[in-house]
Symmetry: C2
Subunit: 714 residues, 2 copies
């Protein structure tokens, strides 16, 4: 992107921007700094040349430059990204704009008193400013977004240093690194019962030192602070990112836009506590007077995977299971009617409560599923039953009411909660409290909160999420591994990988920096995984002898469901954990042809039975798997993913990549409607899509144009 | 690997080997071909030089060379792989061996009458053979494995040609390719109701032509034929690969080791039909006289994921669901006792039948789970109940009987069925027949068989599995995409991706060629996926704007569970399918900043809302999703993965990579036993593992050394 384009004055970065100062372009300016003697203004990081008709400003670093042209008491804002070898020119006379705005008051961070200085690199060509006319008094206000984000991290010394450092591992095998006791000892970190062992990463103490410098160059600490202090770090949506506030103690103070949000959070939590107790105790009953023992939560993406993960993990926890006796919790996400059939199978509307989760109450899948279950309820119990059997987690009270849900039964969350980070909001807390009771869910929130404290306060070398994040950056951006396997040795964590797959790939699967600069490196990794030992009999073959895929091994000291059989060598859980302890060494050490020769393996099998080893992994050991530990695990991964995004210099909190498919689906939907009802031919698509759509319509042409309402037969 | 090592004469390749001939090393030889005039033997593809004390043989292609040194009527076999720049020398006097074996008779394919000629490349250095002594008459028999597999595919012209061809796509965007109607038309293939559209692959007709040449260079057709004709293409386990025989019609004839295996297959199928009907009809009852309505199938890996996928897909098929009324089928795979708890929760041993699936009846996880459920049954119903409530799918009748299962209730499968290809054997057919009745499962087998016929008979340009396989090789080995997303737009196919992840990553996640030559290219891809539309709200962000991941979109014309709501624009299934049709174009076309500017998107958001497009995908449209279609889908992917392996020149049917972890786990298991029972300190592990193990033992030290039997409390 080069050149200046008109924007809205609101797009001048507020929080986090670096105010570079103000230039009065008047005759005086020219007199003060004639072309013959360029003057340097250190505060501005700008060289200023002046001519009668033209002022040249050479920012000596890459920067996003905002120019506010003021005329009298009105202003016009322009924005441009300065990149190496991209000439940038601003000439109000050439500009297309006619709009005029009142000048925006400068906020604290925009005052000249607090300039953030940082490493600057030589920059050319210059930014050229033209006055409207020689005689017209004119003022340019210039500010640039924070350098740390406008300068790509790959342009910094620590990044280049790490790139070079990779060479040091060409001839270093993990076998050798594992012999260094001191190294291994310092690569074990513990917090609040969680033990992280990253000694099987292809990293030395020197690597960790260089990663620490990288974190510094990326202003990681500042980014974390800005997140916790409610700054609008989700700049493309102009929102703060405060899922940490969702699990903050009642007396905590966390500001968003000048307002402490913690009381709002606890108002909703208290409301959920009261409501879930009413439902669970049977004092809230359905339309026919029966208690509501089954819950279907409708939501997709973050409103689905997070709560599903926690539910699956709690299901076999003895304490949680005790509170869930006689109750069922199901999740309806896919717009596929088959998912509706699976969810209502065996359930009775009379005893079912439906929770509709959609922030805007407009999510296509969720709302169609909501209308489908509304039909399921009202066709069985009459339309009035809806208010008794359906509640909402949403902020759009108008649509909630329009849908037929009592707005008193709408549970709020906030713009500063991203969908994939919303499991600790009403999105997850309501359905989980209905199933397990609020006290269990509160434990889960406390576990997450414990990691939140750790993340924002612990020094990086002892900070588990930071270490996890930096090591992932090392694996992805320097060692070049595109994927990461999440391997929990607990069937209760069956849905952990799918949830983290979403949090990670939606957060960091970006192609541009937070300032819109295309990334010369790849951000984000491919996350996948299944519980051990199942995975061992599935994709581990590739992990051991095929591509190198860094692995997260997650183990639990005490099983939720211990089983011992008389006469067995070990307990079932010890049998499981034997694999948890064995796999990381198998990956790290491998097996050489020499070892195989000693075992008299037939020559022609030796290459097939050889393991190269040198495959990185890390091990995370949790004392148990109760609600509290589940919260710890969730928060550790949420923050790890944020750390990666902060270092890569991207916005981990937006998701523009999901929009295009939605809009194209709308076009197809219209076509299907027009073809089925009016027999319109398929038009406006490419040949392939036209052919497939036509084929689809023909093959299903026996479906009546306007069929009667039909619900699943199962 | 260089030099010759002694092997077993049995390791002389039989089927598929190319007999290069016999050299009598005698005085006459020397006389016939003096050093001064090298003679060339075309049949042998060998240059022969002779000196008084030494005979030099220069194979002019890479080859696995077997030398059988015969002395009188005894023989000794040696094997070596000839690779460029790897000197190979054989000197019986230097050899360590003392063992002597009777010479192996040469079988048909080893006769000199049928030499397969193929492209040969100049080769040096020579293979040098030394006689035992100048005066000793001596005979060398030389044969080499088939060239197609000993010459790495990357050394062939078609491979190099495709490598160069990639350049042609540097400036070609899918947007442009999609405008070529003729191209798109020829990139749609149909068979038996299945429609494949691969027009959104980054490929031209020229690419397909080059891939066809690659297939030829890889002898793909011969490999397929050898699989169907029961040759031991799983050479490292010396087994044939005949899962196609599992679904062959009763009157088909498929040989393995000279025996038609189809009758054996149908004997087992008939036995399953009879047994499942007995159980379903209630004529077979449990120990307390109650019918067995619930089934728990214990198995892991292929004995788990395949049957689970088919079960999940059939569950919502109206016809199958009808036959399953009142019955439950569950799968116990993980050795984690939590998985036991989840499986027995809500079940009554009196009405439960347990199917233990393990070929050898020694699989650690499966057998411990089997013993656990045996305890669950016998503790409730007495030990005699086991014979009534447990059956086996295994070939090891001794262990089956020892376990307490009536061998009449053991259902066989065969060495030529790999675990991950076993869903069509008793492994899947028994539990599925118990749940849905044999006729439904027979439909499933018929669907798979239909694709089997297609795969072995259709010309490559119309052969769906071959096209799928070749395009994957193109994406992985030439375009360099390490992963593949499997995106079925059907919730019923929820478990399809996990199953294919196993079949693909375990089959092709290899580091050496079938002859043990380390691969200079990566084989196998990372397979993952979730059903659409769920995935769209999860990892699609990365797929659209982050890394390029080729996608398989799988759509169904007619839903298993159609839902219509009065007043909706389209049916729920049409809503689902709108996304199926929209996503591939979103990935292919993307969205440019020009388009966004036209939509007046604020300048600072344009880079974030830009989609590069040019992201490949393919679309597979099935008419419906009944047992037959599920079989088609399974077989298409099984064969696609085989095609990839055949082209890469690897053994897709072994899985040595899973062994090392197992053996290390045994060491840990012993340690845990010794520490818990005798308080032994942790010894024989590296520092990290010792620390973690010690921590684990200490944190769980309150577990008694030899606890009483305990089953899940849930």
């Amino acid at each position: 992107m080069s050149g200046f384009h008109q924007g809205d004055p609101d797009s001048i970065p507020g929080n986090g921007a670096q105010w570079l100062g103000c230039l009065a372009f008047t005759q005086e300016t020219r007199v003060r700094s004639p072309a013959t003697e360029p003057s340097f203004c250190p505060l501005l990081h700008f060289f200023i040349f002046a001519w009668p008709w033209r002022m040249t400003i050479s920012p000596i670093s890459d920067a996003v430059v905002y120019v506010v042209l003021t005329l009298g008491n009105s202003a016009r804002c322009f924005r441009g990204v300065h990149r190496k070898s991209q000439p940038t020119e601003f000439n109000p006379q050439k500009s297309q704009s006619n709009k005029l705005h009142a000048p925006k008051p400068l906020n604290r961070t925009q005052s000249r008193d607090s300039p953030k200085l940082c490493q600057l690199q030589p920059f050319l060509p210059p930014l050229v400013l033209y006055p409207l006319s020689f005689h017209h008094p004119l003022c340019f206000l210039l500010c640039s977004a924070e350098m740390a984000s406008t300068t790509l991290i790959c342009d910094t010394e620590p990044w280049k240093d790490l790139k070079a450092h990779v060479e040091d591992f060409k001839n270093t095998h993990l076998r050798d690194l594992m012999n260094d006791k001191e190294r291994c000892q310092s690569m074990m970190v513990e917090f609040d019962g969680m033990l992280l062992d990253y000694s099987r990463q292809r990293a030395t103490l020197e690597t960790m030192d260089k990663l620490d410098k990288l974190a510094e160059a990326a202003s990681l600490k500042q980014h974390i602070n800005r997140m916790y202090s409610g700054e609008h770090i989700n700049s493309t949506e102009n929102r703060s990112v405060l899922h940490v506030a969702l699990r903050a103690p009642r007396d905590a103070v966390i500001y968003s836009d000048g307002k402490n949000v913690v009381p709002d959070v606890w108002n909703v939590l208290d409301k959920i506590k009261a409501f879930s107790e009413k439902v669970r105790s049977g004092s809230w009953v359905g339309a026919t007077g029966k208690p509501l023992k089954d819950v279907i939560a409708i939501g997709i993406g973050g409103s689905f995977l997070g709560p599903l993960f926690v539910h699956t993990a709690l299901q076999t926890d003895p304490e949680a299971a005790e509170f869930a006796k006689g109750r069922q919790l199901r999740f309806l996400a896919n717009v596929d009617p088959i998912d509706v059939a699976r969810n209502i199978a065996g359930l009775n509307p009379e005893t079912t409560l439906v929770v509709v989760v959609s922030k805007t109450f407009t999510t296509a899948e969720t709302m169609l599923n909501a209308r489908t279950l509304r039909e399921w309820i009202s066709s069985a119990l009459g339309p009035c039953a809806v208010a008794k059997h359906m509640v909402a987690v949403s902020t759009n009270l108008t649509l909630v009411e329009k849908f037929g849900i009592d707005t008193n039964n709408a549970f709020a969350f906030w713009d500063w909660v991203g969908g994939r980070y919303s499991v600790c909001s009403a999105v997850g807390v309501l359905p989980l409290s209905l199933q397990y009771g609020f006290p269990i869910v509160e434990k889960f929130l406390k576990g997450a909160s414990s990691i939140d404290q750790h993340f924002c306060s612990a020094p990086f070398e002892k900070n588990i999420p930071v270490l996890l994040g930096l090591l992932s950056v090392w694996n992805v951006s320097f060692l070049g591994y595109p994927a990461r396997a999440i391997l929990p040795y607990s069937q209760a964590l069956e849905k952990f990988a799918p949830h983290i797959q979403q949090v990670s790939m939606e957060s960091n699967g970006k192609g541009v920096s937070i300032d819109g600069v295309p990334l010369p490196y790849e951000a984000g990794e491919i996350d996948f995984g299944e519980p051990g030992t199942n995975g061992q009999h599935s994709f581990y073959q590739l992990i051991h002898q095929g591509r190198v895929i860094p692995c997260d091994f997650i183990g639990i000291v005490k099983s939720q469901q211990p089983v011992y059989l008389k006469g067995e060598l070990v307990s079932n859980h010890d049998e499981l954990m034997s694999n948890f302890f064995a796999q990381p060494d198998a990956l790290a050490y491998g097996k050489t042809s020499e070892q195989l020769l000693k075992e008299n393996v037939p020559q022609h099998l030796i290459p097939h039975k050889t393991f190269s080893g040198n495959r990185p992994s890390l091990s995370l050991l949790l004392p148990s798997l109760n609600a509290y530990n589940i919260g710890q695990l969730l928060a550790s991964y949420e923050h790890r993913i944020a750390v990666e995004g902060f270092v890569w210099g991207i916005n981990s909190f937006d998701q523009w990549g999901v929009e295009l498919g939605k809009s194209l689906a709308t076009q197809v939907r219209k076509q299907l409607h027009a073809s089925r009802t009016k027999g319109d031919p398929v038009e406006g698509f490419n040949f392939s899509t036209t052919t497939l759509l036509t084929r689809y319509l023909e093959a299903s042409s026996d479906i009546p144009a306007d069929p009667p309402t039909l619900l699943p037969r199962i």
